[in-house]
Amino acid sequence: MKKFLNLLAKEIKELITLQLFISLLFTIFLFYFIGQMAKSEMKRAMRTQKIAVLDMDASTLSQQLTDSLNMARFQVEKLRGKSKEEAVEWTKASDINLLLVIPPGFGESLSTLELKEMETYSFLRSFSIVGSRTSVILGSVISALNNYISDDFLKKKIPDFSPEKLKKPVRSKDFVIIKGRMAEGSASSIAGFISNQSLFIPIILMMIIIYSSQMVISAIAMEKQNKTLETLLTVPISRTSIVTTKMLASAVVGLISAVIYMFGFSYYMSGFMGDVRQQVASEGLGRVIQELGLAPTANSYLILGISLFLAILCALAMATILGVLAEDYRSAQSLIMPVIFLVMIPYFLSFFSDIKNLSLPVKLFVWAIPFSHPFLTTQNLLLENYTAVFGGIVYMLVFFIFLIAIAARIFSTDRVLTMKLRFRRKKLLL
């Protein structure tokens, strides 16, 4: 045990390098920076926007329109005594991004609902979110105005019916059912909430797997490159200890890196998404989620944790075997690709499609990848597909034991010294 700890301490020391610190700090800084930028952009978009209005009509209706813009938190800049061309030139020279031109005689034919077209001019000064935001707000102002005018019109013409009923005679009350539990709510907002919630799991998993596999591959490759492996293999400690300390050290350092990384990433995401909790409160989603049994329980967290842990072990064992093939640090970097690839497949599949709807051969292929299972676990737990959840866990366990047996075998035979892929020779052939 003492020897084991001695080895473990060295492995961790070897992995924590200045380079690792710098790259971690850099990523966090980058994410923080982008997140802050996004936040301030969002704030700017929410702030009062300036809009220039050239009212060539000056009727009651055009007056009402200008007032409603004021109410929609626009700061209205009224242009007087200018022609359309002059107004465009004037706005261009100012820092206002939107110009609204109300033509002469705009409200004249209100009684027949034949209004003249207004014109809007958007000045795209940058392609950030703020630019698109203004026109979205303007669009909703115009549609509110449309509602106001048409409701008014309907009330006058057909006083016996409310405009509401006239426009939407068919109404619905929406229920969602999940596995025998039912609640009133909209399916799309619940699905949206769940996918928002589970968005982080694949990202965390991917980060940890990639970081720690990279660690273990480099740890073995560095032993080869620095020519320390031969000495280590003649030291009185079991080969299994050598393999497990490398995996353990990589898992620890990989986990820490991933956590630090996630910290930066959450800054980044919060910049774009705002607070999820706010959304839940505002839409009364919390009650619906409770009623449907979608709120995560301690057990579901535990199962998810086990599933994630097994996936990490599988990745580490796989990386250990690949690390033996690496001749030096550089070739280790390319050997990590198969592992990353195997993680990417379920990652993207779980984003863009439902695995249940894939054809059988593709489904089997996805199931054969151990990393697919934790991606599916969240959904399967919510849908109470326990066979799939525990099947996945058993599969990963078997997969891991199999890989570890291979890794230990390689380390206890000649192959750890003689096995290698010859990249250089391959490159000459290409």
Partner: protein, 240 residues
């Protein structure tokens, strides 16, 4: 006295290449035994098998009466191996490297200190030991590793080209150190392609070429047998 190490009919194939074609030799207590021969003769392969790094295709290796194949872990406690091209962990200070290695052999902190002190005096690197091994020259690394290999006073020290890459002064020092430890009772199995250095260093030599031992004995025996002035001439005559 019984041999510390006995090698009998050792064979090793790498795929279709026969690197060792059945070699036999013995290392006696406190003696320096050398395998000498040109590059590619099979010296490293033989030493790696004895050091438990490679498994033999055929033949038997016995160490203090134990079969190497059956009990490699027991064997590892009593030997130390200095690979032909070896390095130290670049991120570890020289002193930390020695401490790390010593802990595998020592059963107490006191013993660890004793081993590290011995290694320090062999490596003779002074205050540079407190710097990371990544900053060392090739010669400094070699001396650090030699210190590591001898600090535990192993029953058998297996040294693959111990003076390779060293300048004349350092090579001389290393040879003196090896001789001193052998005089204290440590058995040494080493390899070299430098036949003149071996003549000074070793008690007995085996001439190896293309995986076969051509002849073996003390250098004076061999010189007399082939009527040669030095081991290089002996080797040339033995090849015919």
């Amino acid at each position: 006295m019984d041999a510390v190490l006995e090698v009998e009919g050792l064979k090793k194939n790498y795929g279709s290449l026969e690197a060792l074609k059945g070699i036999s030799f013995q290392v006696k207590p406190g003696e320096i035994f050398a395998l000498i021969g040109p590059n590619g003769a099979g010296k490293t392969t033989a030493l790696r098998i004895v050091a438990t790094l490679l498994s033999a295709s055929d033949g038997k290796v016995t160490f203090l009466g134990h079969d190497l194949k059956k009990e490699p872990e027991k064997f590892r406690e009593k030997i130390s191996y200095l690979p032909e091209e070896a390095g130290a962990y670049r991120n570890l200070k020289g002193i930390d490297y020695l401490r790390f290695m010593a802990r595998f052999y020592a059963d107490s902190d006191e013993k660890t200190r004793e081993f590290v002190d011995r290694a320090k005096s062999i490596a003779d690197l002074g205050t540079r030991l407190n710097e990371k091994a990544g900053t060392y020259s090739k010669g400094m690394v070699r001396k650090l590793l030699l210190g590591r290999a001898l600090m535990t006073r192993p029953h058998l020290a297996i040294l693959d080209e111990p003076t390779s890459g060293l300048d004349v002064i350092n090579a001389l020092e290393v040879r003196e150190i090896i001789k001193k430890f052998a005089a204290e009772g440590i058995s040494v199995l080493l390899s070299s392609h430098n036949m003149l250095e071996i003549e000074f260093l070793s008690d007995r030599v085996a001439l190896i070429d293309k995986g076969v031992i051509l002849d073996s004995g003390t250098s004076s025996e061999l010189k007399e047998k082939y009527r040669a002035g030095n081991l290089e001439e002996v080797f040339r005559s033995a090849l015919r």
